[in-house]
Amino acid sequence: MSEDNKPTSGVPPAEDDPTSPTALGAPVQGAKALEAASGKPAAAVTETATAPPVTLPDPKEIETWNEQVRRRMRQKTRRSFLGFGAAALVGFGAFEWLMSRREIDDVPWPIRKTLEVNEQLARDFFSTGRTAPRPSETRLGNRINGDLGLGSDFDPSKWQLQVSGLAAQDEPLALGIDAIKKLPRVEMTTEFKCIEGWSIIVQWAGARFTDFMQAYPPTTQSGDDFSLDHPEDLLPYVAMSTPDDAYYVGLEVESLLHPQTLLCYEQNHQPLTLEHGAPLRLVIPVKYGVKNIKRVGTIRYTNVRPADYWAEQGYDWYVGL
């Protein structure tokens, strides 16, 4: 911190500094300088420097003037260093206070609350009409990253997608992969962005999440039939997890209404591999990779903000792009 560099505030520094050029040539000029010190614009000083010379006065008188200027300077310096020193202490205090606050999911609450404010601002600005650019397929990437929830005791042939929170259905609905593949097939190429900072271009194929919603309508707040024309009537959140519940994400429903949010079964023109989340994974370009959950086992519409694996580790819950 800069404030560390500041000398102790009480010492009058002008005296320590032999080069401090406060010596004045003439009493008239000295008087002008004093005026300037008391708030007159600096121009007054420079003008006097070129003014015609006045008869040399008594050196004692000059010294009196100079001493007055030095005293005022010392006073100003002392006051301002004390002021800025106090401000630096307040700054340190505020920082210490911030860092010692009770933590919510590994983040001091004032910072966590700010992340939530950022989220609200971003959600206000968010529009399903703004889509991710579609880069050309010439530089398709393939990077395996993260195996949470992808335990080896998994039989893809027995996999079923459990969906809860559907309209007129109390028990979760179990769907096979064919149910997803029956939906209109959508292909897209997008830049997949990892929260770590890297990104790769990936080609995907799967079903649009809104088509999935149309086919298996979720329950609504009002009890009316599901309609994409009334997104505000949907339950506000969706929770997804791997079959073993080892990895789970929470999403606000509007990002699932985005036209590029897909339930994918193909990647780079090949069937999804196990390490990329076969048989079915979520691809949601409006979020960092962490929300693009692999091997989706359950989908649940909910009123309660769902737990999120990485948000519990100190990350932002929203991570919207």
């Binding site: 911190m1 800069s2 500041k6 520094p13 002008a14 320590d16 500094d17 080069t19 401090s20 050029p21 406060t22 010596a23 004045l24 040539g25 000029q29 300088a33 004093l34 300037a36 010190a37 708030g39 600096a42 000083v45 006097t48 420097a49 200027v69 005022r72 300077m73 100003k76 310096t77 301002s80 260093f81 800025f84 700054g91 983040v107 004032p110 910072i111 966590r112 700010t114 992340l115 950022n118 971003a122 600005f125 968010f126 703004r130 889509t131 991710a132 650019p133 830049e191 962005k193 990892c194 929260i195 770590e196 900072g197 890297w198 990104s199 370009p285 100190g314 990350y315 919207g320 792009l321």
Partner: protein, 221 residues
């Protein structure tokens, strides 16, 4: 005794310093998670950003979540301070001292030669010389603006996809954001060196607002 820096300017300066430091520090925590930049050609790497020793010495590893949380908290203070500063300089007329004009670039050359000890010419004696005008305007205003713009492009690349396109893409924006951060570090090193050269009277004026002036010799001794 002459008023040099107004109180508001001094506050903006000293508030900005710790804020920018926190932004760079948390930015390094974020950058560490994908530290791909280097100076080199092909397979030859002259310098890697950053060597392992650097990360270890400053404890910069394994702080991505924390770095992002800090970065997206302190960004508000940094932006607000920047907006207040620019607004103040415009409204108060201080911008006249800061914005370079046609002579600034020629003058900047002279100042650079002088400071490197290659020229003994007399330097312009006013609040900010041409080199300072260019350095302060470009660094404080343009770099600050650039950091906010490139930062937004990395932060919300889908919502402001047009901005990412303008900056050359998502990864280009990330690189530009990093370059600007390195630019601040470079600016800081030169700035501190120049402040030390200029001496106590000058440093004091950035705290108290006043410098002492010899009427015969002018403000810079």
């Amino acid at each position: 005794m002459k008023e040099k820096h107004r109180l508001a300017i001094r506050w903006f300066h000293w508030v900005n310093f710790p804020l920018l430091a926190l932004m760079i520090w948390s930015g390094l925590w974020i950058y560490w998670a994908n530290d791909v930049y280097r100076i080199g050609l092909g397979r030859l790497t002259l310098f890697k950003f950053f060597p392992q020793g650097f990360y270890s010495a400053f404890g910069l590893k394994q702080h991505l979540a924390e770095g992002m949380a800090w970065h997206f908290y302190f960004m508000w203070f940094f932006v607000v301070n920047g907006i207040l500063y620019v607004t103040y300089t415009v409204v108060s007329g201080e911008w006249r001292y800061l914005v370079p004009n046609r002579q600034s670039f020629r003058e900047a050359m002279l100042v650079t030669l002088h400071d490197l000890g290659l020229s003994k010419g007399k330097l312009p004696q006013r609040k900010f010389n041409g080199a300072q005008q260019i350095a302060y305007t470009s660094s404080i205003i343009l770099m600050g603006f650039g950091s906010v713009v490139t930062g937004l492009a990395i932060y919300k690349p889908i919502q402001v996809a047009w901005l990412d396109a303008l900056l050359g893409g998502y990864q280009a924006a990330r690189f530009e954001h990093f370059l600007l951060a390195m630019g601040y570090v470079l600016f800081f090193v030169i700035h501190v060196a120049q402040v030390i050269r200029a001496g106590w009277n000058n440093f004091r004026s950035m705290v108290s607002g006043y410098e002492s002036v010899s009427l015969e010799k002018g403000p810079h001794e």
